[in-house]
């Protein structure tokens, strides 16, 4: 779904979301209250400039509108792969973006991450996955790395890679598999405005429950028990 259609369906009461390059920003109305909207489009590669701009938008909301909910719309093909971004310390820019999300949460903003198209690696990790609750549209593609690149880096044939994507939730690229692993809390089908309203009136998730969700859904059977064993070990 393109972002224009997406925000139209999310905010039937109206919105002012605009794009500035590959960045989305604006406000939407839900039950008369204002939600800050920040995000990316065009399967953006997240480089240093975009990471900084996104963090700046989050910090603006924290500074100017205490406790206003933030909806982060994620469409990214991952971090920009360039020597120049590495030279400037792209990991520092993404850490800054991640920290901005964490600050919003600790200052009691509801923070919802919605993956609506591509959700790949570093861009998704420091973006949508840093939300308090991450959700996805059913048609989303999730990846750790582009399939061809992954086959090349792992030195396995592309046919084998595609076979793995079909047969293993760990390698599969559709939203359902990420849900099974606990990586997303919900898949939003049908009426998007209703889904958003429901999350906004629910109590905030105080702790990260993705490992527990992955265990309950049968997708990640080791993470939750290992975390719990470390916490209880003598």
């Amino acid at each position: 779904m393109n972002w224009e259609q997406l925000v139209k369906e999310l905010f039937p009461e109206g919105h002012s979301v605009n794009r500035a390059g590959e960045m989305l920003r604006g406000e939407g109305k839900v039950n008369g209250a204002t939600v800050a909207v920040i995000g990316t489009t065009d399967h953006a590669y997240i480089g240093v400039e975009l990471a900084l701009a996104l963090a700046g938008e989050i910090l603006n909301v924290i500074r100017s509108f205490p406790k206003r909910p933030i909806l982060f719309l994620a469409d990214t093909r991952g971090q920009r792969l360039s020597r120049r971004d590495e030279l400037l310390g792209i990991n520092v820019y993404l850490a800054h973006l991640s920290s901005s999300f964490a600050l919003a949460r600790s200052r009691r903003h509801r923070v919802i991450g919605l993956a609506y198209d591509e959700a790949v690696s570093g861009g998704f990790l420091a973006g949508g996955m840093m939300a308090e609750i991450t959700v996805a549209l059913p048609e989303v593609h999730v990846r750790v790395m582009d399939t061809t690149a992954m086959a090349r880096v792992m030195r396995i044939p592309i046919e084998r890679m595609l076979e793995l994507e079909r047969n293993s939730p760990v390698f599969a690229t559709e939203a359902g598999s990420l849900h099974q692993l606990g990586g997303i809390a919900e898949i939003w089908n049908g009426n998007l405005a209703e889904h958003l309203q429901k999350v906004l009136v629910s109590p905030p998730e105080a702790v990260d429950t993705r490992a527990e969700k992955g265990y309950a859904r049968g997708g990640r059977l080791y993470a939750a028990p290992v975390i719990s064993r470390v916490c209880k070990h003598a």
């Binding site: 792209i90 570093g122 990586g183």
Partner: protein
């Protein structure tokens, strides 16, 4: 040999294993491991690839003391699949960070050596890194200091490079490397013209410890020596870096200034020259203490 002798013997951090680093960093015999190799908690995903498992899944976690103060410690083992983060590996680290929120130790040391997400565990590894990030930032918000130590052969790449910069402080050696996408990955995906990963001088200038220190991305530059790491780690745990609006706005301003001053530079040498370093060869030749002194004398060095 007395303990005083041990602390003055130079010992390579780069060449040591994760277990050796822990033993030499913490107070003698103070380390207590959680889910050690005897418990054989191994990766469930590697059998798909006929890859051998490791009984600690490439990461050692536990508690001990540093200068008598209680600390939690994590050491990634680069020798096992490049220290990559899979489901079990990541859960051990997340467990330590969550436990620290409850037990409130003096601090947490992360000995990072990792290529990032373990590709053999793909989505499960990606979520695991995200869980580490969440748990780490919750600790920061609670005011418990976390220091990252980087100086191993495999560097600190992928999602773990983001983790490193969410810590209170980074201690790095000249041999340490940190970056998001490793040079080999960039070369594989974007071509050798973008990044020639075999050009070692270029790699060190781009992601090496000295370069990162000059840019302001590491709080301490130390020699490749475990006692030096130990002293710097102890000091790093005293650095406060609260997760508050004031600090993040200052970080934001510094990162914006960096793009303004150095955003069009194509090589670290250009950045150094703008900082006021006359000869870039000087950077390669200086030892750590000399480089730190030089960095502090540069009027145009814009750092966080």
């Amino acid at each position: 040999m007395t303990s005083a002798d041990i602390s003055t013997v130079r010992r390579s951090y780069y060449e040591a294993t994760g277990r050796q680093r822990i033993a030499a960093l913490l107070d003698r015999d103070s380390f207590h491991e959680w889910i050690g190799p005897r418990e054989r908690v191994t990766s469930p995903h590697l059998k798909l690839f006929d890859v051998p498992v490791s009984f600690d899944d490439g990461v050692i976690v536990g508690r001990g003391t540093l200068d008598g103060k209680r600390v939690f410690i994590v050491a990634q083992e680069g020798g096992f699949m490049g220290g990559s983060v899979g489901e079990v590996h990541g859960a051990k680290i997340t467990g330590v960070l969550r436990r620290a929120l409850i037990d409130r130790p003096h601090g947490v040391l992360l000995l990072l050596e990792s290529g990032g997400v373990r590709l053999h565990e793909a989505n499960a590894g990606l979520i695991a890194v995200s869980e580490i990030l969440h748990a780490l930032l919750a600790l920061r918000a609670a005011g418990i200091p976390v220091a990252a130590l980087i100086g191993g052969a495999y560097g600190c790449f992928g999602g773990m490079s983001i983790v490193a910069h969410c810590c209170n402080a980074i201690v790095i050696s000249e041999l340490g490397r940190i970056g998001l996408s490793g040079p080999e990955v960039i070369e594989t995906v974007a071509g050798v013209e973008e990044f020639d990963s075999r050009d070692l001088a270029l790699v060190w200038r781009t992601v090496g410890g000295k370069s990162r220190y000059l840019l302001g991305d590491a709080s301490r530059l130390v020699p490749d020596d475990i006692p030096a790491f130990r002293a710097a780690a102890s000091a790093a745990l005293l650095l406060s870096r609260a997760l508050d609006l004031e600090n993040l706005e200052r970080d934001h301003e510094c990162l914006a200034v960096r793009l303004n001053f150095y955003g069009d530079c194509k090589d670290a040498e250009e950045i150094w020259s703008r900082m006021g370093i006359i000869s870039s060869r000087q950077v390669a030749l200086l030892d750590e203490a000399e480089l730190v002194e030089l960095a502090q004398s540069l009027p145009n060095r814009k750092v966080i």
